[in-house]
Symmetry: C2
Subunit: 344 residues, 2 copies
Amino acid sequence: MVLTQRSNGRRPTLEDVARRSGVSKSTVSRVINGEHRVSAEVADRVRDVIAELGYVPNQAARQLVTHRTGAVAVVAPQPENRLFLDPFFDCLLRGIRRELARHGAQAVLLFLDEPEDYARVTDYLAGGHVDGALLFSLRPGDRLHEMIDKVGLPAVFGGRPLLRDGDSVRGHAYVDGDNRGGARQAVRHLVSLGRRRIATVAGPYDQEHSAAERLAGYRDVLLDASLPDLVERADYTLRGGAGAMAALLDRRPDLDAVFVASDLMASGALQTLRERGLRVPQDVAVVGFDDLASIAEATDPPLTTVRQDVEEMGRLMAGLLMGEGPSEASSVVIPTSLVRRRSA
Amino acid sequence: MVLTQRSNGRRPTLEDVARRSGVSKSTVSRVINGEHRVSAEVADRVRDVIAELGYVPNQAARQLVTHRTGAVAVVAPQPENRLFLDPFFDCLLRGIRRELARHGAQAVLLFLDEPEDYARVTDYLAGGHVDGALLFSLRPGDRLHEMIDKVGLPAVFGGRPLLRDGDSVRGHAYVDGDNRGGARQAVRHLVSLGRRRIATVAGPYDQEHSAAERLAGYRDVLLDASLPDLVERADYTLRGGAGAMAALLDRRPDLDAVFVASDLMASGALQTLRERGLRVPQDVAVVGFDDLASIAEATDPPLTTVRQDVEEMGRLMAGLLMGEGPSEASSVVIPTSLVRRRSA
DNA sequence: TTGAAAGCGCTAACAA
DNA sequence: TTGTTAGCGCTTTCAA
């Protein structure tokens, strides 16, 4: 069995290095950990031996005493249909990896896909394999949240956790975009363009805090402007966006604008509009949300959308976890801005 | 600093459980590891105490003595532009995760993105955080290969490693599709359709074994049929496929078929053909490679392509690592089949 | 600046 | 069936 084969016997230990360099284990340990009260000659000699022997510290032994692993888990839900094809997550993860790298920590990505994964991931996190965890998209009833609490593992959430009991923070740090404010910017822009029959394709607002907030922002502005709302719910996929757009047009063929709660869905909506022979922005103005370059710049016409600095969100999550945040359980909401392209 | 906070003091240890249940540590250990020579009453009592105390075994301590972690690293290169939007990798990873899960092992994904990542990932792998590694897309000169050897970490490669010295196996197990055979199937199909001016969009054949093999398979058939070849090289991206198709048409406007070495590139090629006003398959027949449903079924017309069971490849990689393979360093090449759709 | 010794939390002989 | 004992390989006081 491949897994049990080790190429050449036993790996060298600290003790081997110590013996071979004629010093004590403590001294070798000091050299490895870069302590300065070691004479230069000794340090050099030890380093030579380390290289010669190909010594690599055993992390398990080190962990056992230091209680640190140098690794941070990034727990990604439902990769099945969304995650891996989702540029949003791609950006977020890049920010996370870069910031963790700055701190010398290794990001390890774990997937939560099938129901059985849950127990294994929980065990992994609880087992002390990592120093902390970065988590996403928690939904009402998600047990991961309690688990993190129980294990006492430091954690930062991406997106404000939406919990069953309405208590959505409970001591956990999170990083989120200003979803409600961003939605307001988008819809205000449509109003300022003179549009009056403004629909929205909302995300799964009963499931995700962000979707609920974007819908609320949309309603805020329409209420202010005494305009009627027209809402269709979709699932944050391209196909979902296309379907929702079709449903909106069936309900209200004369709508003149639509705020779509994600760029991916917006690109689906644009497809539907094109199929129905409607011109964008002349007949229907479209504003998206996210400003994912790979989508927003590639659509025809390019998408006007609400920008969130997703990579920065990732960096902030990692930074908060690594202790750069103002205080322990603090959270961050980052502002949004409207990026005008051609669709509105 | 968030990372150092632990919710409620010291976590309970095996010893705590032992004391509280009035048995020895060994007995508790036996209960935890499911050994059967423990009386039912004692086992129950111990389990109660474990639950009561919320005890979770310290993996570092366990690892130190067992030399096993229960985790396997999946090392993914260059997520930057390709990986995360690549359905191929998505399928592969799913197969890997499922098979590892069957063995109770946790898949942890590590990224190799920026040059600095290399050292950190190497340290991580060498540090004993995982029991084995699954690696991809190794290229000539890739140092990861030597590193794996040096650390003596069991590893299985996805795609046959192409090494500098031409020795492409060197004791490492790998799983690969039958690239050459698949390419032959594709091109033979085009020949059987009566096509005689058959071009190919090849992958980076100086960089990747698979690309070289697919090109070789294409040439095999043309040589047999005494037909001239026409090759354009691209980089496995959609845009690259589109550009290469354009170049082919510029060189040989009357070509009547093209074998494109990946579905993603094929979808780019179809775009170019459409732009040039050429009908598929009437004017130009197109065959792809991979049979990624999300692409091949979505193109217009749907793509005839060479199917590789990518999820199965992932499963095999994991299975080989976990010791289900016939022998230690064995490798597997899985067969391909032609899936006929509308493009040829 | 260096070394000796204790101990991190667990498993695995070996005894009982 | 259960307990005793000896480490696993490292860091870290404490002395020298």
